[in-house]
Amino acid sequence: MSVNDISKGRRPKRAPLSHSLWPTLKTVLRTLGSVAVTLLGLLFITFIIGRVMPIDPVLSIVGERASQETYDAVYHQLGLDKPLLVQFFYYLWDVLHLDFGTSLLNARPVSEDIARVFPATLELASLGIVFGVVIGVPLGVLAAVRKGSWIDQIARVVALVGYSMPIFWLGLMGLLIFYGILGWVGGPGRVGIFYVDIVPTVTGMILVDSLLDSNIDVFKDAFSHIILPASLLGYYSLAYISRMTRSFMLEQMSAEYITTARVKGMSEWDVIWKHAFKNIRVQLITVIALSYAGLLEGSVLTEIIFSWPGIGSYITTALLSADMNAVLGGTVVVGLIFILLNIFSDLLYKIFDPRAK
């Protein structure tokens, strides 16, 4: 109903409750439908790629010197003698039951492996994105409203370094300086050797688990281990987030409604945060969600340098040893995260932008 109707004096009829619920339900159903289709597409593509790759999963199990009988038996056991489409449906059925098959490398269910490695990445990425947002957004806003000032120049250099330095170099330098020389932080790995497996695994994120167990020592140790890789990842997302924030803000600050706010007699601080910033939230959400998704994929280099047992290094190892079940399982999880983050940011759009309703 438009307000024009109101001004013409037509009273809008109030719809009965059961009817007003229907649009919401329709939106939910439509969203779920699109998620299902996207996931199905993702599964199909990864599955096909996995099967047509010139890697023989049988060989990686039985080894090169196995007899033809053994080879055939395993070939049959893996279901590889069935048509591709049939294999896909079997796979789909299993995935729906959260069964990604067994890792060819360690003979453990892939789902168990993922449940172990994913929280490590989640912990690292979440802390990283918190750094990136908490520092990157204000830095970008400041750089925009003080365009051309020293703070803008500093923000520019910080971002440029973030864009251009290879992470393995910065990571090694960080370890050398803060761990090797200064000893301020813990070294590679998630916790020191004395603290391994002390707190019971609940979420798989050691920071959270140690707090749940009220074990402050483990928390402190885990924190000293995560702080360096997390700030490193945070730095890279900070570079991106601060640049994007700056350009979004510049666009808004030249808008006419900003002049209106100033004419009202508003302080510059309120003009920036109450008026301009409210208008960049939607764009900012997209940028942050994409950054976060990128971090959740697992930064392979960071995970390797810091011996972080996350999903990035898991998928990479699996790929290098032709462990296709593990690769597929990992890919599906990463894809699912992308889809979920997309839905989440769509949802936030609708909250923050009245025009999207």
């Binding site: 109101i6 001004s7 409604y257 209106t260 004419v263 007699g265 409210k278």
Partner: protein, 285 residues
């Protein structure tokens, strides 16, 4: 007539690569409780004059003047904080297009209430009642519903009436209207002008009406400043605009189409470089 605003020798300068560009060059005028029109073509400095009074010209732009006095107080000598008390509360401004001058992600109600509460210690409920009254004053029907609506749900005419409500709610002494009807359909222009006129009269305010529309200004204002290239070239009583002497004003008048004297070809304004060099005429009384 008591003088509300006294502007003496106002300059607005913008440094560019090729030296300093003077957008406004030594303009002087006074404003009483009257409707003062400022007319001129694009780039004549009329909008810059309005914004300079509110000190809204952002760096690197510069505002210089002997004084810009609001009832004896020089605005140029005020601190930024003191200036914030002047903006909105004593001098306010309505801009061209409500589509851009209202914040798209805030409700109309929040924006109007904010304008009121910035200068009063009013509680939210008082501000709400005041805002609804103000919306009624600008002939908005069902104001309570409009308070909850967002700017994109408004038509242009409604948007501009909301702008007027928002700018008048702190009860300023001077309203600067910068092309307030240029973005509106001709049919709603009159309606918006009438509302503005009524409110300005009721409250005994001074109005600076910036426009490029000569007919509109001569109908609507008491006195008109005609600006050209950053200077005032002529000052007239609005109802004697047709007796204007300056060739620029004459040229503008002659280039308007008229229903009662249809012409095949309208006159083309012949510009004389001497106009922009001639000293600014004072609009002071």
């Amino acid at each position: 007539m008591s003088t509300l605003l006294d502007v003496e020798n106002l300059w607005v300068k913008f440094p560019t690569r090729n030296g300093v560009f003077d957008a406004v060059r030594g303009v002087s005028f006074t404003l009483g409780r009257e409707r003062l029109g400022i007319v001129g073509e694009s780039g004549s400095g009329k909008s810059m004059t309005g914004r300079a009074i509110l000190r809204l010209i952002r760096a690197p732009g510069m505002v210089e003047a002997d004084h810009i006095s609001l009832e004896g107080q020089d605005l140029l000598k005020m601190s930024e904080k003191e200036m914030r008390d002047v903006r909105g509360q004593r001098i306010s401004m309505v801009m061209q297009d409500p589509k851009f001058s209202l914040n798209p992600v805030m409700t109309i109600g929040d924006q109007i209430m904010e304008a009121y509460r910035l200068h009063t210690n009013a509680s939210k409920s008082v501000a709400y009642t005041k805002s609804v009254e103000m919306l009624e004053a600008v002939s908005i029907r069902d104001p309570e519903r409009v308070m909850r609506a967002y700017p994109h749900e408004m038509s242009g005419g409604m948007g501009q009436r909301i702008m007027i409500a928002m700018m008048l709610i702190p009860n300023p002494e001077i309203l600067i209207a910068d092309e307030p009807t240029s973005a509106l359909d001709v049919s709603v222009q009159r309606q918006v002008l009438d509302i503005m006129d009524r409110l300005v009269k009721e409250r005994g305010m001074g109005l600076i009406f910036i426009s490029h529309d000569l007919n509109l200004v001569s109908d609507f204002c008491d006195r008109v400043l005609i600006m050209y290239a950053g200077r005032i070239v002529e000052v007239c009583e609005a109802d004697k605009l047709h007796e204007a002497k300056h060739p620029y004003t004459r040229g503008l008048l002659n280039s308007l189409p008229r229903l009662d004297k249809p012409r095949d070809r309208l006159e083309v304004l012949q510009r004389d470089p001497a106009w922009s060099e001639a000293p600014s005429v004072s609009g002071r009384i």
